[in-house]
């Protein structure tokens, strides 16, 4: 694995390697001294062309726990309007001998371009690009779903797949890099993905996508789900006629108290996930968000672990077995 740009090209072995490593990193996070010296003397650049305090904090925590030196470069506003800035920035980073670049960008494909255009030759880690991909988010979701499965079955997380798990991803699929990256990764891990959205918020040609598509949230629930992942909806979408009003959106596609009660009453346990930040009362009710079915805070914790794992694997060429001798 040279870069982490997307989850589509990850094999099952790659995915398990990252997730098993992340489990170990999660154990580090429980210790009093939360540091590993594996990236000592190496420099990681956090290149954020788009604001995201949460993701940046998570990456920074991961880098610090791996003892890396950190350079934060925030270039908000210089993205799409001034095209040359990505190349210039890349060349600057190459000149200061950065060892890896974490990039968040509003333009789909910018991380791939950074990795492949020949401007800089270091591992590139996609921290979210446009409406394309957000691989570490999908990995932290998968890590969370493994923990959920381990909890309900009593199995160990390490080596666990998501075979047969039914995961509904609900909301603005069209504009969601989280949905896309989860589609590929969860499918690779054996899960059955169900997308739930109004037709306006789905791409036009998804026949080849390995998922079932529902316009009706209730029908999706009736078809059986083990986890629901609620996507953040932007209120501005209603001004472009994607839906008539936030009230209607909430009523038809929100995890309302009534729907949540129905999930809760099912004969099996259901996990509720959300990539955050949540719009309580819009796509997710407070009841659902704050219930003990909610894995939202575990997702945040797991975010640091998968980012540690990805950085470790990309920058050292290591593997999960490094941490599980004899396994």
């Amino acid at each position: 694995m040279r870069h982490l740009l997307d989850t589509k090209d990850l094999s099952l072995a790659d995915a398990l390697n990252i997730l098993d490593t992340a489990d170990y990193m999660g154990e580090i996070g429980q210790r009093e001294v939360k540091k590993l010296p594996v990236l000592q003397g190496r420099t990681v650049v956090n290149l954020f062309f788009e604001d995201s305090t949460r993701t940046r904090l998570s990456f920074e925590a991961a880098e610090k726990r791996l003892s890396a030196d950190i350079i934060n470069f925030s270039a908000k506003g210089s993205s799409v309007s001034k095209g040359e800035s990505l190349k210039d920035t890349a060349q600057t980073l190459a000149a200061i001998n950065a060892d890896a670049v974490v990039i968040r960008h509003g333009a789909s494909g910018a991380p791939q371009r950074l990795a492949e255009a020949g401007w800089i030759d270091v591992p590139v880690l996609n921290a979210g690009d446009g409406t394309h991909a957000h691989p570490t988010q999908a990995l932290l979701d998968a890590m969370t779903l493994r923990q959920f499965r381990a909890q309900t079955t009593g199995a160990e997380t390490r080596g666990l797949t998501l075979e047969g798990m039914r995961v509904a991803i609900v909301g603005d699929i069209l504009h969601s890099r989280v949905a896309r990256s989860n589609l590929w990764l969860l499918t690779t891990l054996g899960a059955q993905v169900k997308f739930v959205a109004p037709p306006t918020l789905l791409p036009v040609e998804t026949e080849d996508w390995p998922c079932e598509i529902f316009y009706n949230f209730d029908e999706a629930i009736e078809s059986g789900v083990d986890a629901v992942m609620m996507l953040r909806i932007q209120k501005e979408r209603m001004h472009n006629a994607f839906f008539p009003s936030s009230e209607e959106y909430s009523r038809l596609w929100g995890l309302t108290p009534e729907r949540f009660a129905r999930l809760d009453a099912a004969d099996h346990e259901t996990a509720v996930l959300h990539p955050g930040p949540m719009n309580r009362g819009l796509e997710i009710s407070a009841e659902a968000a704050d219930s003990d079915r909610s894995w939202v805070l575990r997702q945040v914790t797991n975010g640091v672990s998968v980012r540690m794992a990805a950085l470790y694997l990309l920058m050292t060429g290591g593997k999960s077995a490094d941490f599980y001798p004899g396994a």
Binding site: G83, A107, S108, Q112, R113, E116, R180, E205, E207
Partner: protein, 439 residues
């Protein structure tokens, strides 16, 4: 012309049909036949070469005035000559826009001075390409540039009332409106063809219907007002069906396809390499095949290159902020050979029709696209169909390095281009331009 000379082309295959010698004297084809001899002529051995009338491109962006870092009339004309073109129509989206007699005369003069190919300016339909009011259409038509083709290319003449008026008004001068068919509301922020690939890549889509709905509207408008209409760079299967319907109905519409839309598909966008970013966007394999068939069926009338050079920095960036467009003057004939001739869909005589005669007819370029017969202007090209070459954007005459065929091996090579009886290209290389005397 200065230095009118005599050239004798020996043993060329006329339109790939029959072998003959061609004698060129004083800018004209003096004689065509077997065993022509002329003691004073420079002999050009054309064994194995195909002679075609000089190519005519109805859709070129020469960028001058104003965007000289992308291309100039001089560099674009050199590229044209190397590509076998003896005439190019320069699109109006320069800076200032070619919407006045002054600008079109400037471009026309620059073309005459450079002397590698005939440069015929296209005038904007609307002032500043803004789509609000008509440009100085009459003044441009009556200028020394004698503009007959009007286009807001790059922008669609979207307002249906304005489009109707433009179609009517240009009839005064027997002009034609060349429409860039793109419904603007359906393509806001569009980055690539809307389909399977855009869904995965998370790039905003440019739906086929945005092109097709404008074409449907415009053929009906053209029918209603009895005007002729030209559709630029048609790119979808659905557009072909609409044009087919319009032609069957007797509507005076002509359609154009670019070489890149005959070969490349949106699968290439998976690289996120902006060299593949173009408007209209690369479509699907199904569209590509439909365009090829439409050319064979005569539904699409001509090849227009949409040669669109850009400075390197406009493409050396992330996809979303890259400029639309790709160069193509120097490969057009090879791509046509690869996709249409070598596949058995059309003959070389058809190539002469779609790349020379018909575009000249649409653009009213007198002296271009003529048959290879005695008495005709000596605008012709010699092609080696057996050659293969690997495309190197750095080795081209155009300033634009934004070439989507880099590294691709293609068939066919232009060995000579005669423009006004003068070999501006010989042995596949530029020689000297034509020097115009007088006005």
């Amino acid at each position: 012309m200065t230095k009118p000379s005599t050239y004798l082309i020996k043993g060329a295959s006329l339109l790939g049909e029959r072998e003959a010698d061609i004698l060129i004297r004083d800018g004209l084809i003096a004689e065509v036949g077997a065993d022509v001899s002329s003691p004073e002529a420079d002999i050009i051995d054309a064994k194995g070469l195909i002679a075609l009338p000089g190519l005519v491109d109805l859709h070129t962006h020469l960028r001058e005035p104003g965007l000289e870092d992308a291309e100039t009339v001089e560099t674009g004309s050199r590229a044209a000559a190397l590509g076998g073109y003896t005439a190019v129509f320069a699109m109006a989206n320069s800076n200032p826009v070619a919407d006045t007699a002054g600008v079109v005369e400037q471009v026309y003069e620059l073309g005459r001075k450079s002397g590698w190919t005939e440069v015929q300016p296209i005038g904007a339909v609307t002032a500043g390409l803004a789509g609000e009011r008509l440009s100085e259409i009459g003044a441009m038509a009556e200028s020394r540039a004698k503009v007959r083709v009007f286009s807001d290319d790059g922008m669609c003449v979207w307002d249906p009332a304005l489009m109707r008026r433009a179609l009517e008004y240009v009839k005064t001068f027997n002009g034609v409106v060349a429409q860039h068919a793109q419904e603007p509301r359906l393509t806001e922020g569009a980055q690539m063809n809307e389909g399977k690939v855009s869904a995965e890549l998370g790039l905003a889509g440019w739906p086929a219907v945005a092109e097709e709905s404008i074409i449907a509207r415009d053929v009906l408008l053209a029918e209603h007002v009895g005007s002729r209409l030209h559709i630029c760079h048609l790119s979808t299967k659905g557009s072909v069906e609409i044009v087919r319907w319009a032609k069957e109905r007797g509507i005076d519409v002509t359609a154009e396809a670019t070489p890149h839309h005959l070969l490349l598909t949106d699968e290439l966008v998976r690289t996120y390499d902006p060299v593949y970013k173009v408007n209209p966007p690369l479509r699907t394999e199904e569209d590509v095949m439909a365009l090829r068939q439409a050319i064979a069926d005569g539904i699409i009338d001509i090849i227009g290159t949409d040669h669109a050079p850009h400075p390197t920095e406009s493409k050396d960036c992330e996809w979303a902020c890259a400029a639309n467009g790709m160069t193509g003057l120097e490969q057009a004939l090879s791509i046509v050979q690869k996709t249409l001739v070598d596949t058995g869909l059309i003959s070389w005589a058809d190539v002469a029709r779609i790349m020379s005669a018909k575009p000249a007819e649409i653009g009213l370029a007198t002296g271009q696209g003529r048959p290879l017969e005695a008495g005709e202007p000596a605008n012709l090209v010699l092609v080696d169909p057996a050659a293969t070459r690997t495309i190197d954007p750095q080795a081209q005459a155009t300033k634009g390095k934004n070439n989507p065929y880099r590294g691709l091996e293609v068939p066919g090579a232009v060995m000579a281009t005669f423009y006004g009886g003068h070999p501006v290209v010989k042995d596949g290389k530029l020689t000297t331009p034509v020097t115009h005397v007088g006005n």
